[in-house]
Symmetry: C2
Subunit: 280 residues, 2 copies
């Protein structure tokens, strides 16, 4: 049944979180969303690497091997239940602690995993998305840029905007009006044979599929990728093709953003075929 949800807290099936928890109190934690497909967690190493960068930046205790073990516990149960496709959200918080912002001296990380069953994929290029430009922007915060921490209110507000507008996603700008991302994915522009994606030094989340495009997939189809600071809305207008990447879609073409429409999804499709080939 699609949409069914199973939750584990610290490795045990549960539907409640012990309180207090600093993840709830302050967003003091990190998360990853992993794709389960054909009984496997896709690109788990890239997710755990990003998690580790976040744990180090937030001075968390080293709980990577425990997180990995709890993912395996969840995975085993989902395999037994014959789930074929699911989104697994792994959340790590700094756990309990005394009142106030200062972390406890010896924090005990808490690990929450939520699996949501998804409809089987058809392996086809996702339908092209219609975007609005969100009025909610990314805050400028270089010290936390790139990692996937739990402070995600900006994306929540921008997602509420696309939802109200009846769109599929929203373009999110940074404080200097630069292109950053969509609410749940990284942005790519194609122009004159070159692929551009916004630098994420100021804000944004460095996605695992973005990393794969930059480091492997683009080269595999003979494309150069430029990670560019200061791409603006003119660059978007002038792009001959636009798409975004995330864990669940892989890659999704963009059909329009406001009044600008794109009809070719040739580059996105070539990358997508390469990505699907890796899953075979």
């Amino acid at each position: 049944m699609t949409g069914q949800t199973l939750i584990w807290v610290d490795g045990e099936r549960a539907d409640v979180l012990p309180l207090p928890d600093r993840g709830l109190d302050f967003g003091d934690g990190l998360f990853e969303t992993l794709l389960l497909e054909h009984g496997e967690l896709r690109y788990i190493d890239l997710h755990l690497q990003r998690l580790q960068r976040g744990l180090a930046l937030l001075s968390f205790p080293d709980c990577l091997s425990v997180a990995s073990k709890h993912l395996q516990i969840a995975l085993t149960q989902l395999q037994l239940n014959n789930w074929s496709r699911a989104a697994l959200r792994l959340t790590v918080t700094r756990g309990d602690g005394p009142r106030g912002y200062a972390p406890p001296r010896k924090p005990q990380a808490r690990i929450i995993i939520r699996a949501t069953q998804l409809a089987s994929g058809d392996g086809l290029l996702p339908q092209a998305a219609h975007l609005i430009t969100a009025t909610t922007r990314w805050g400028s915060q270089p010290q936390l840029a790139g990692i996937k921490h739990l402070n995600r209110l900006e994306q929540v507000l921008a997602a509420a905007e696309w939802q109200r507008a009846g769109a599929d996603e929203a373009l999110m700008l940074g404080q200097a009006s630069q292109l950053v991302s969509v609410t749940a994915g990284n942005l790519f522009l194609h122009r004159d044979g070159v692929l551009y994606t916004p630098a994420l030094d100021d804000c944004g989340i460095a996605g695992t599929r973005r990393q794969l495009v930059i480091e492997q997939w683009a080269a595999a189809i003979g494309l150069q990728v430029v990670v560019a600071a200061g791409l603006d809305q003119d660059a978007l207008e002038q792009a001959d093709e636009v798409f975004y990447s995330n864990t669940l879609w892989g890659l999704r073409p963009v059909a329009s953003c406001g009044s600008r429409h794109w009809h070719s999804h040739r580059v996105c499709n070539a990358l997508f075929q390469h990505y699907r080939g890796e899953q075979a």
Copy 2:
């Protein structure tokens, strides 16, 4: 017993939070910390007003009267238990919802109250605090400035800095190196008969005690207050007195920030005496 904790979830005593919860997932919520003293919640109207501003900004369902009712339930039980002084944290989240950033169309807010017993106050001016300047800065995010939402990772990291340094608090700057606040309080500088406090258009939390100083307490002791944008570290160096405000201390003088020391706390003390007088 100091440090004892009681928790209510949606008006019932509980020690767990139902999952999923968007407060945990994204920091999709707000909070207030109220001071219980002599059986009363101090300045509850100011807290509820700020909460209401936050609820509106985040497009939450109107749950202000429910939050207020749950505070009264907690208050009644604490009075029965003869608690004389406590910190009450009121947390409101957007509750449950489907996977993903976009809020549910009809969210059901969840209300968590945590009461932590505090030692009885002696009514004296708090001991002057030693500050470091945190390397962790406030992000620049004008759209969320002022309200007390659950995305508080910057303050957590800055608080970890003062804790590691053995200080009492940390000065936090904004992205343009402007003075903003300490990790858990609003900043005031006194110079040549005028009180200055940083404008919070770009980041920071507009505290209830800050509001009282600006709107009432300063005038009561014949002081002018200037809410100033772009106060910098030179302004701090040149101040003849520095203090900060928050719910639990009321006002707390600053003894030092790095190598700069202040020995006079005359203005802070006069404001503090006025504040204590209001409690009598």
